[in-house]
Amino acid sequence: MSSKRIVVIGGGPAGMQAALSLAAGGLKPVIVERAGELGGKLKEWHRLFPSMTEANEVLTRLTGEIAEAGVEVMLHTEVEGIALGEGGAHDGAPNGVVLAEGKKLPAGAVIVASGFDIFDARQKEEYGYHVYDNVFTTVDIERMLNGDKVALSDGTAPRRIAFVHCVGSRDEKVNQRHCSKVCCITAVKQAMELRERFPEAEIYSFYMDIRMFGPGYEELYQQAQQESHINFIRGRVSEASPTIDGRIQIKAEDTLVGRPLKMSVDMVVLAVGMKAAAGNEKLAASCDGLSLAPSGFLAPRDMFTGCVSSGAAGVFYAGTATAPKTIGECIAEGAMAAQRAAEYLKSGAKR
């Protein structure tokens, strides 16, 4: 029965939690996921800040509960837009989603949990990502940690490592003016993880501001300085260049001492930001009431009481479709969006 079916677009943490909450409430969620398995980007992460919980632990719990609850999942399936027409839960409201080749999946409500894209560090050409072998992103490092193979391209251990914050965040030059929120704490976490693996290495972290907004974050940052001996330098790196011995020379200005700085390192790690998903524009264009924020993320109805609601009745948001968020925040929003969607179907309240 389509009026009780709720389509959840995206099978990451927010989407999975939304589906679980809906199922617990007696509704019929269906997760539409374009990848071949559930998990979203959580699949690629190693440990989660600030508790250093294994990402796989969270992933396994969510996917296990999805299987246990018998939630319907459509993998390898792309959503083209919101479906409009007769048969929705309310007159004039969306009545499902449009899949590839115009096929329609009817539903009483839709939860958009389509996530974010990772900023392509190649756009910051000055840092030499995909130009120099030993320039990596924080995403690469997570994968390397997962495979237990953190090393330079020749397989050796780095002796000096530089993290660069705000790559693709707070940067008008690449049209990404927003703060991606989680990159600072990710870089701190990874610096500490690399310290565990390379006790003798010098590790530097170049930042504009350190934004430690969450519980336990500031404490982790202090720990990184005092126990892991990470050297934090306030200044943006201007460019990376190759040296004759295969290392990477970086230039920056240490703004606390007011002097330019140049050093050679073995490994550069770019803390890449969260970018609005490329599909947001098409989705927003498919339905009146959906709109984009200037950052390209989907704009919620309001920032406070309607943070999981869209401007269209029957369409709800969860997770990083609307802004950069932590895993915990995404899961919380998944549950909240499910509750709002259930209320919508039950009472007809258009929110």
Binding site: E125, H130, Y132, S241, P242, I244
Partner: protein, 361 residues
């Protein structure tokens, strides 16, 4: 180095019929390079290019030194466009990097702020009675050589290789800051990894040297040099580049900016005098060529016809490596074989038996 990213920054370059805008500095320090460019265009490539004696300085140096007001600069650039329009051309080929940057900047300004274009048109008309059309295509002359690099390679008499060993020459390429650092889309390869000279070097058999200070300014920087009190900044920046490239043992440098070619060449002499340091694998300095000279050598042109005797660092070491036949006795012979005078040997060119001219004594 993986260079594939340069392809994301390509631009349209006109194929023929150019209006040539010369460079003030080059006409003084490398006059043979502009002549060589015209020769390559007409003889090797069969292109139509108009060398207009009426055009003037673009005022770029005065503009960047805060001596010439922007309105004046715009009126002067508008006059160049008017001369081009009157001559029946619409593709402008600009010899100087600073002029190229300035023309690009003015066209962008006119695009963003149309009232400034209207004012420039009005000022030009009041002053000269001239009107103009904006160029359909704007290219630096190195863009045009890059555009035709494969045609030149097909006519190559020799390659950028060591004639004895067959090994590619190690070549440092240096791009003028005003080429693409102001508007990355205006340059082949963008601002971080410009490919305009590297593309020529690779096409003609050489090997590009990637060194830490590759993107650093040559040190000219108008305020660095023209304000005499700042001149130390100029030579310090050149020295930083030379120190950075020296371990790679480059056979030569090639530049596409008049100021860069001049300063990277002539500051080597000053550094030799000041610090007794001479760069280059065998203490004879690192020759600095213009891209026209590099292309001319590939095409088999005579180095002295191209004005290569004007260099501070002697270029014979490159000629010898490439197997170029040249007449040493003809180096300082001008037209009709008239001796034009030879400079005293300088500390940077320490051939055995040379007389060393030292300014310190």
């Amino acid at each position: 180095m993986k260079r594939s990213s340069w392809k994301e920054y390509e631009k349209e370059i006109a194929d023929d019929h150019y209006y040539y805008a010369r460079s003030c500095i080059r006409q003084n320090f490398f006059p043979g390079s502009e002549t060589t460019f015209l020769r390559i265009m007409r003889e090797a490539l069969g292109k139509d290019i108009y060398d207009d004696p009426r055009h003037t300085s673009c005022t770029g140096i005065g503009y960047h030194s805060d001596i010439v007001p922007l309105d004046t600069t715009m009126a002067v650039v508008a006059r160049q466009f008017a001369l081009m329009t009157e001559a029946g051309y619409e593709n402008i080929a600009i010899s100087c990097i600073t002029s190229f940057g300035l023309y690009t900047e003015i066209l962008e300004t006119w695009h963003e702020f149309p009232e400034t274009e209207a004012r420039a048109r009005e000022n030009l008309f009041k002053a000269t009675g001239r009107e103009f059309r904006k160029p359909a295509n704007i290219a630096h002359t190195s863009d045009i050589v890059f555009h035709n690099r494969e045609v030149i390679a097909a006519q190559a008499v020799r390659k950028l290789v060591n004639a004895e060993t067959g090994a590619p020459l190690n070549i440092v390429e240096h791009i003028g800051c005003h080429y693409a650092k102001i508007f990355p889309k205006s340059g082949i390869g963008g601002s971080e990894f410009p490919y305009v000279l590297a593309g020529m070097v690779e096409e003609w058999g050489g090997r590009v040297v990637d060194y830490p200070e590759r993107r650093h300014c040559c040190g000219f920087g108008f305020r660095n040099y023209i304000v005499q009190a700042n001149r130390g900044f100029s030579i310090a920046n050149s020295r930083k580049k030379l120190e950075s490239m020296a371990p790679y043992k480059p056979d030569m440098m090639v530049a596409n900016c008049p100021g860069c070619a001049m300063f990277l060449d002539k500051w080597q002499y000053a550094i030799a005098e000041m610090e007794n340091v001479t760069y280059g694998a065998d203490g004879r300095g690192i020759p600095v060529l213009t891209y026209e000279e590099m292309a001319g050598l590939v095409l088999g042109y005579d180095p002295w016809d191209m004005g290569m005797q004007m260099h501070q660092v002697d270029t014979e070491q490159v000629l010898q490596k490439m197997g170029v036949r040249y007449d040493p006795a003809a180096k300082f012979l001008g037209r009709a074989g008239k001796f034009i005078g030879a400079p005293a040997a300088a500390a940077v060119n320490t051939f055995s038996g040379d007389r060393i001219y030292r300014i310190k004594t």
